[in-house]
Every structure is written in C-alpha cells, then in structure tokens.
C-alpha cells in the first residue's frame, strides 16, 4: 500500500515537474507547479509530517502560487517567444543534467543503504504540538528573526511595487 501510494504521487510529481519546464505558457507552468506541491504534500503525510503537509498546501499551493498567478494575469504574460539558444547549451545542456542526476542518485545509493524503510504511521512526532514545542524552545531566536525577515519582505515589496509619487 505504501509503495503504491508513493509511486502514484511520485509519478504525478515528476510528470507535473516536467510539465513546469516544458510548457510555454506561464499559466500552464503555474498549474503544473501546484500539482507538484499537492503531491509533495501527500508524500510529506506518508513521511509522518502532518504539520508540514498542511503548511505546504496552505502556504505554497494556497498563498505563493496565487501570488504567482495574480502576477501572471496582471502582466498578461503570453506564450514565450522561441529564441535560439547558444549551440553549446543546446548540445551539452541535457547530457550534463542527466549526468548530474545520475551522479547524485549514485551517491545517494552509496551513502544511504536501503535499510531504512518508510512506513506510514511509524513516525508520529510531526504533529503541530511537537513542531510548536521545538519552534518556541530550541528554535525561538530563528523564529523571531524570521518575523523580522517577513517584515522586511513586506516593506520591500510595497516600496518596489508602488507608484512613484511626484
């Protein structure tokens, strides 16, 4: 059952991920990215991370992607113009990427022998209670610094996107 669920949502994630890169219209890319994020949320649930799965759906698929789609529609972004890439990039891009992926997979296989099996329900510490306890004791200072970061981001976004007052 675990294997079937993992395979279904992993395939959905990979197909949607390929779609993000291949589609020429930004709206199609954005919708595919929402598919990736949704299937990743299910995979987080399989890994026992309930809280992260919920924040994935709410923050990423809910807030960030809505912001992306707002901007795409506001700018009326159309289909991407086909431009010729440089010859070297066309020739070497894909093989180098596949080589990178093969190398990373090889090292993952070597570093982590397949003894750790992920079973649904074996790790129960990912609840909001446990996350909150760690966040407000051990990670209190990073949490507070994060709030300042968000404040800076809000001010920066407003300053960048406002209309110039004469």
């Amino acid at each position: 059952m675990d294997v079937i669920l993992f395979l279904i949502f992993a395939i959905i994630a990979v197909v949607c991920g390929i779609n993000v890169v291949v589609q020429t219209h930004p709206i199609s890319s954005a919708l595919s990215l929402i598919g990736v994020m949704g299937s990743l949320a299910v995979l987080y649930l399989l890994l026992g991370a309930e809280f992260i799965a919920m924040t994935q759906v709410i923050v990423y698929a809910g807030a960030v992607m809505v912001l992306f789609i707002f901007v795409i529609m506001l700018l009326n972004a159309g289909t991407e113009a086909k431009r010729g890439r440089s010859f070297v990039a066309q020739l070497l891009g894909m093989p180098l990427l596949v080589a990178f992926l093969a190398l990373v997979s090889y090292f993952i296989q070597r570093l982590f022998p397949a003894t750790t099996l992920v079973q649904f329900g074996a790790f129960k510490s990912g609840t909001a209670q446990n996350i909150g306890r760690a966040l407000f004791t051990q990670y209190l200072l990073p949490f507070e610094v994060t709030s300042i970061l968000i404040l800076i981001a809000i001010v920066g976004a407003i300053v960048l996107a406002r209309k110039e007052l004469e």
């Binding site: 059952m1 675990d2 294997v3 993992f6 994630a13 990979v14 991920g17 390929i18 993000v20 890169v21 990736v36 994020m37 990743l40 995979l43 987080y44 399989l46 890994l47 026992g48 991370a49 809280f51 924040t55 923050v59 990423y60 960030v64 912001l67 992306f68 901007v71 506001l74 700018l75 991407e80 113009a81 431009r83 990039a89 891009g93 894909m94 990427l97 990178f100 992926l101 997979s105 993952i108 982590f112 397949a114 750790t116 099996l117 992920v118 510490s125 990912g126 446990n130 996350i131 760690a134 990670y139 990073p142 970061l149 968000i150 981001a153 809000i154 976004a157 407003i158 960048l160 996107a161």
Partner: protein, 102 residues
C-alpha cells in the same frame, strides 16, 4: 507489509531538483524561471523531511518550515521586482533585461 526505501524519496527529490535546474537554465520567461526556483526549494524540503524521518527527530520539519517562510518572502520581493521590471521595460524576456551587461 513493508515500506518504501528512504532512498526513493531522496532520488525523487534529486529528480525534482534537476528539473528545477533545467527550468532555471533553459527558460526565457522570468516568471517561469522564478517558478523553477520554487520547484528546487520544494525538492530540498522533501529531502529535509525524509532525513527527519530517518533520524526520528522533528528538527528537519522545522528547517522545512523555515525554507517555506523564506520562499514566501522571496516570492513577494521577487514578484515585486518583476512588476517593476515590466513597468520600466515592458518585457518579461530575461535576454532583454541586460543593462548590466554592456
């Protein structure tokens, strides 16, 4: 009933990260490039949560949470920059935004 090997999760994460790199390098639309960055951040989050499962600790979840917060902040500022670039130059093609090049 046996589970899924942890390496499968890590390899899925690597695949998604490579797709993000491909989008970042090959695409010309500035918004799609930005979405590829989000894809890479998601892939890294999957690794964090998988390692958290392996170590039976909640710390990886906290890191994934912080990555999400930083990604949200980055998305707001980046999209504001895209709006400003479009207002000034009326283009979304990254090849035409090259005033620092020459």
């Amino acid at each position: 009933m046996n589970g899924v090997p942890l390496t499968w999760y890590l390899i899925l994460s690597a695949v998604l990260f490579s797709l993000g790199i491909a989008g970042f390098l090959f695409r010309k639309n500035i918004i799609t490039v930005f979405m590829s960055i989000e894809l890479m951040l998601n892939a890294v989050n999957l690794s964090f949560v998988a390692f958290s499962y392996q170590l039976k600790q909640v710390n990886g979840h906290i890191f994934a949470f912080f990555v999400m917060v930083v990604a949200a902040a980055e998305a707001t500022v980046g999209l504001a920059i895209i709006l400003t670039v479009f207002k000034n130059r009326a283009t979304l093609n990254i090849d035409e935004v090259n005033s620092m090049k020459n």
